[in-house]
Amino acid sequence: MEKFNQLLDETTILNFQLLAKLANRYRIHLSVCLVSFLSLFLFKYYSQPIIFSVSVPFKVVAKHTVSTDFTTLMPTENTSSVTISELSVAFSSYSFVKSLASSIAQDPDFEKLNFGTLAKGNKNTGATIKANCKLVPDCVVDNLTAVLGGFYSVEQGLTESRYVLNVSATDAFTVQHFVFHLTKMIDRNRIESKQYLLTKEIDSITKLMTESRMYLKKMNGFEVLDENERTSLSIHDLKERMRNIQANINSEHSNIALLEAKAAQNKFSVNRMVASDRAAKINTKVFQTKIDEIRQNISSILIVPENLRTPTDRAILSEMQVQLKALEKKFPPDNIYRDIELDDAFAETQRGVVRTLEFELGVARSRKKKMEESYEISKIELERLQKNKMETDNLINKLKADLEFLKNLESKQMSLKLLSSTMTSDLAFEDFSKGVSEYRRSSVGKIFLFSFITMFAIYFLSLVLRFLIDDRIYSEDDLKSHFGKLDFLGEIPRFE
């Protein structure tokens, strides 16, 4: 205790003068500690394994979500929901690590991958794990799950939305495979976690819809809606039909008027033609006979040679030729017979037309009458339907809020399903082709500092310990500490 008190000082806590004296007294300690320091430094630095590492930068991209407001059913953006702590927890969760282990276990090169710890750098290949597990897949996954956590970490990047995924392993081949599986699993994890939320939302909406439907069913809401829909359709069809009937009636009415006019005109024409035809025929025949006679007379005169003709003949001939020309001008020789032939056929035809027109007129009138009857029936039906629709509309107005709610839920459900099916990860991995970097777990400076501090502490403790256990007498002070009651007279004579 006396010695221990000597080590302490009232002002400086430690008695540095005594410590300096001890350092000088036990110089061997310093030498041993220096050698130990160098040995420790070299051993610690060169005994640590070389770690292969890849840094994968990634950023949070604009994230889509669905508004809880029913009036805006479109997805909205939310960019500030991902934090480093959330990512760290998510990527170190048991479920994530297990799914990662499953993914790695299915790697074709699994047996070549080294799962030795970074601290020890020991060899623990996939083949070893498989052999230890006797090829049982669950055992392999469990063993991998236990060791995978130490191979990667997430750090904050340069900005708020940027992060860095650090993946390390004891060889380059393994680290590249780790990166591949990790990025794949992170993408899947993000999508699944977001889909999980949407699935929950869809479930709750489906539940609400079921409740709403049950209420409406109880209130016959759907039947009313169906009936209203049917009535509306019927009214629409009926109106369309009535419009068509009306148009047909109008058309038929015009047709009847036209037919009536035509029939009347034809009848009149036929009657008049029959009378005038007879007089014309008689006149034509008279003139034709006269023309024929004149021609015969002219021919008879022309048979006589001109030089034999008498002036009377010539005068008669000239006069008959003038007369013939006048008659032929009035009744051309080609039309005379034909007109006569045609007039009868035409008259007969016209009479047939008159008969047809009269028949058609009768048919049209009959049709118009039927259409008018149908129109009247439709009108009555329309009135009935409109009355029904008014009644269902009243009922629908009473259920309007519930129906609107159900409608919104359906829209929201559809929107969520759409979003769920088109979901993408909110993390975008950037280019990580920088390659694999090699380093040792602790830097030279760190190990130097560690070794120095360790050795200094050991040196200090060894000095103190030796001082405490060393009962050799080095000075008067030591004597006083051991034998305070004895007088210290001085040194004995020294002969030279």
Binding site: Y474, L479, H482, L489, G490, P493
Partner: protein, 244 residues
């Protein structure tokens, strides 16, 4: 051949030193005093003992943790000091008269005897030029052994010591004392002032404690400590640790 050569060399050295001693035997005390390297320390220590002497102490015993030579040098230094201060009658009792520091003086001393008062026996001693008288523990032991069953041993010794003003005891090593513990027990009753000589680097507190305890058993208390600072002093062998 080499052994005979070495012996010859040793003989030459002895002869040379004897010749040297003969030359210096004119005033050995002054010579010793002049050879002392730390006069101040000697005077300081001498004054302390002189103070004790003035208080009435005349028997000064010196023991150590194994430094016989240091004991003798201290005694010789004190002799020189007291001799220079006054014409004291000084007796030196040692078990190493023929070795070490006293050897030269003893050789140049004349052998004399004291006739014991009650016995017909004599005690041999060596007187150096009327400065000091040297007594050998073995001579006292012989007397003790021959008359151990009498009750007058202490009286006879005291009657001899009464001839002197100052008696300086060069106490044997503890191991040696243990061999004739009864004798030393009887003799130790004369030690009035016991000093222990320790050496830095070689003496440990444990050793000093052993010495202290040993004399405590003789009902003697250590009174003072003297320091052997000569680095040439023979260091005791280090205890083996794990066989090394």
């Amino acid at each position: 051949m080499s052994t005979s050569k070495n012996l010859k060399l040793v003989e030459d050295l002895v002869n040379k030193s004897q010749k040297k001693n003969e030359i210096q035997s004119v005033d050995k005390i002054a010579s010793y005093l002049s050879r002392i390297g730390n006069h101040q320390e000697l005077f300081k220590v001498g004054k302390e003992f002189q103070e004790e002497f003035k208080k009435g102490t005349k028997n000064f015993a010196f023991t150590s943790t194994g430094f016989k030579n240091s004991q003798q040098r201290m005694i010789l230094g004190l002799c020189c000091y007291f001799d220079s201060v006054d014409q004291y009658r000084i007796a030196i009792v040692s078990d190493h008269l023929n070795y070490g520091v006293f050897d030269d003086l003893v050789k140049n001393s004349s052998e004399k005897t004291y006739q014991l008062a009650k016995w017909r026996d004599k005690v041999k001693y060596y007187s150096y030029q009327h400065h000091f008288d040297f007594f050998d523990f073995s001579e006292l032991l012989r007397v003790y052994d021959e008359h151990q069953y009498t009750k007058t041993f202490d009286y006879e010794i005291k009657s001899i010591l009464d001839y002197y003003d100052i008696v300086l005891w060069d106490v044997p090593t503890i191991e040696k004392m243990k061999l004739s513990a009864q004798f030393h027990y009887r003799i130790s009753h004369f030690y009035e002032y016991l000093s222990v000589i320790v050496s830095p680097l070689t003496s440990s507190a444990k050793q000093v404690e052993q010495v202290k305890n040993f004399f405590a058993n003789f009902n003697l208390n250590l009174r003072s400590i003297l320091f052997e600072t000569n680095s040439a002093v023979e260091k005791p062998k280090r205890a083996k640790i794990l066989g090394f």
